[in-house]
């Protein structure tokens, strides 16, 4: 019986974010909030392990109340229960503070039944930091296995998990001691279709919410106060000079352009 926790985050669908070509500004209106795509694969992985080895999958998210939506999605995919960590005091948490809050929640779950595996997406598409997974693993003292693209075996008796990690141009096969934290890439699995009964069950399910008092947190380690990084300023990306349009019919324009590039010696004359 595997006790598993999957961390999921609600993010804006950045694929839907577009630039207004006239004003050159980001169009965010109507951009849907979705489950972080990598986290969906993390849920899928945990549910599949449950089907194979037996066990329980708890979906865990930190965010405002509307983040409940991604937890329902996780329940629809086969998670057994969902917990939302929500409190005004959590607002402004950077990755260090976020990993602290999530790790404390997982510790609370572990006091019920020891957790064997924690899953996270490799990174969230809004922040792209890839820091929260390693942060949780470090705080819990779990084996850290990032960029998992395959899970070869789990052996509860021997207490290990064997995975394949996706590295630059390489694949690493590594066996780690349980308990472990895995961050996953999309190659790990294909998402299953959600069945209607599962979706209905998920829609009706009760989602537990925990606030800061449920977790016995050190107030100095959460929210803005617990975040060592701060934003000094934001600004528009510097414009790149250029923008010369080469006129003419395709062939004439091509000839002009190629002559320029060859002249600049950027493309070598063989």
């Amino acid at each position: 019986m595997l006790q598993m926790v999957v961390c999921v985050k609600q993010v804006p669908d950045t694929a839907e974010v577009r630039i207004d070509p006239r004003t050159n500004t980001l169009v965010r209106a109507g951009v849907p909030a979705i489950i972080n795509p990598f986290d969906a694969h993390a849920v899928e992985a945990a549910v599949r392990l449950k089907e194979k080895y037996g066990g329980r999958v708890t979906a865990l998210s930190m965010g405002p109340l509307q983040a409940e939506e991604v937890l329902r999605r996780a329940l629809g995919m086969g998670a057994d229960r969902a917990i939302l960590l929500t409190d005004r005091a959590f607002a402004g948490s950077d990755t260090l503070a976020t990993s602290y809050i999530l790790a404390r929640a997982i510790e609370a779950l572990s006091r019920e039944t020891p957790v064997d595996l924690v899953f996270c997406g490799k990174q969230a598409i809004d922040g792209d930091t890839a820091q929260v997974g390693p942060g949780i693993a470090t705080r819990l003292g779990f084996t850290q296995l990032t960029y998992c693209m395959a899970i070869d075996a789990v052996d509860l008796e021997q207490g290990y998990i064997q995975v394949q990690r996706k590295l630059e141009g390489k694949r690493e096969i590594i066996r780690g001691r349980l308990p472990a934290l895995l961050t996953v890439v999309k190659d790990l699995n294909e998402l299953s279709y959600l069945s209607l009964p599962a979706l209905i069950r998920a829609a009706l399910a009760t989602i537990t919410t925990w606030n800061k008092d449920n977790l016995d947190l050190d107030p100095a380690q959460i929210g803005l106060k617990g975040s060592p990084t701060s934003v000094r300023r934001i600004f528009a990306p510097p414009a790149r000079p250029g923008g010369e349009i080469i006129p003419g019919e395709p062939r004439a324009a091509a000839a002009t352009l190629v002559a320029r590039l060859v002249q600049m010696k950027i493309i070598a004359d063989k």
Binding site: T129, R165, L167, I174, I234, G242, G243
Partner: protein
């Protein structure tokens, strides 16, 4: 648990020198170049940190790329990379020698390690910085990175905690020149490790032969986007890349359409590239794409929409149907690059 670290006593700029099997990730040298400038601005030392087994031969390389000092920890447990012993070694070195800045490459290894180390130290970590500067008044590291999908740049500070940690993607910083005879100091640090603390055993590392494309090192990239329209049409781009000895690339839209595999993707969720010439064919220029390729020396855009944002940042643009323009470019390069008179 982490509390505010007193800033006093933290001095110097460190770069983690990433090696696997004795082969150094080039981003480490790029970071020594960036670290050199930071160290000079602060008037402090630049040090490299080298962890591994049988890697002492790399110390002279680190000096040649600008390190004044190299901290070297060698142990069989550090042979294959595992998070726990690497993190412990780096944390221990930081606690003992107290650098004010620690830089790592934003590779899979660097991201795996930096997240663990920053958490243990209870300090701030800024991922994927595109610019690192020193505020002369406060001596703080100004860490600039794309935010909100790359539409804005954000400058992040880590005011009260040390070291200030940042990762930088490969090819974002220029490669410094190698100074053959430059020498520095070597600090060998002995630490005791045991295999059990690694918590993991690397069984095998398999090279992905068919995925051996090195977008981040390519000098010429011919990239296609949604406007290319089909997998078949990418053949035209392949021919252009072929005549130039370049590599194909793709926007997220082209990858999601299944026209090219994900390892060809350039942009925020793909690879950051810094080629000499980047051809953007049928790519409108979503900001998520631009952040991954605007470091190119020359950008050539081909698009039939004169309003496409890509033209704003392209060095040269041709407005037209790529199905006519790209073959014309291929033919012209073929003609103008042909050996012989003319």
């Amino acid at each position: 648990m982490p509390a505010d670290t007193a800033n006093t006593g933290y001095r110097g700029v460190w770069v983690f020198i990433e090696q696997v099997g004795g082969e150094v990730a080039p981003v480490s040298w790029e970071l020594l170049g960036a670290g050199r400038q930071l160290a000079d601005a602060l008037g402090v030392e630049l040090a490299g940190v080298l962890l591994g087994q049988g890697v002492a031969g790399l110390v002279t390389e680190a000096w040649a790329y600008g390190a004044d000092k190299v901290y070297l920890v060698e142990d069989p447990v550090l042979g294959p990379y595992r998070t726990a012993p690497y993190a412990r070694a780096l944390v221990q070195l930081v606690k003992e020698y107290k650098p004010e800045i620690l830089l790592l490459g934003a590779t899979s290894l660097g991201r795996d390690l930096s997240g663990a180390v920053a958490t243990s130290l209870g300090t701030g970590l800024t991922a994927d910085c595109t610019s690192l500067t020193i505020d002369p008044e406060t001596r703080l590291l100004e860490q600039t990175r794309p935010a909100f999908g790359g539409n804005v740049m954000a400058t992040i500070l880590c005011r009260r905690h040390r070291p200030q940690m940042a990762t930088v993607r490969p090819r974002v910083m220029p490669m410094p020149s190698r100074q053959e005879d430059r020498r520095g100091e070597l600090v060998r640090v002995d630490m005791a490790f045991n295999e059990a603390e690694a918590r993991a055993e690397v069984i095998e590392i398999i090279e992905e032969k068919n995925k051996a494309i090195y977008l981040d090192r390519a000098e010429i990239i011919v990239a296609g986007g949604r406007g290319v329209g089909s997998k078949e049409n990418f053949r035209l781009l392949e021919e252009l890349a072929g005549v130039l000895g370049g590599t194909l690339g793709a926007s997220r839209a082209a990858v999601e359409a299944g026209w090219l595999p994900p390892e060809y993707q350039v942009g925020q969720t793909g690879t950051t590239v810094r080629p000499k010439v980047y051809f953007a064919i049928g790519i409108s220029g979503a900001i998520q794409h631009l952040v991954g390729m605007q470091g190119a020396d020359v950008i050539v855009a081909v698009n039939n929409d004169p309003q496409a944002p890509i033209f704003k940042i392209a060095t040269y643009g041709i407005v037209g149907d790529f199905r006519e323009v790209v073959p014309a470019l291929t033919a012209e390069f073929h003609r103008q690059l042909a050996p012989g008179p003319g």
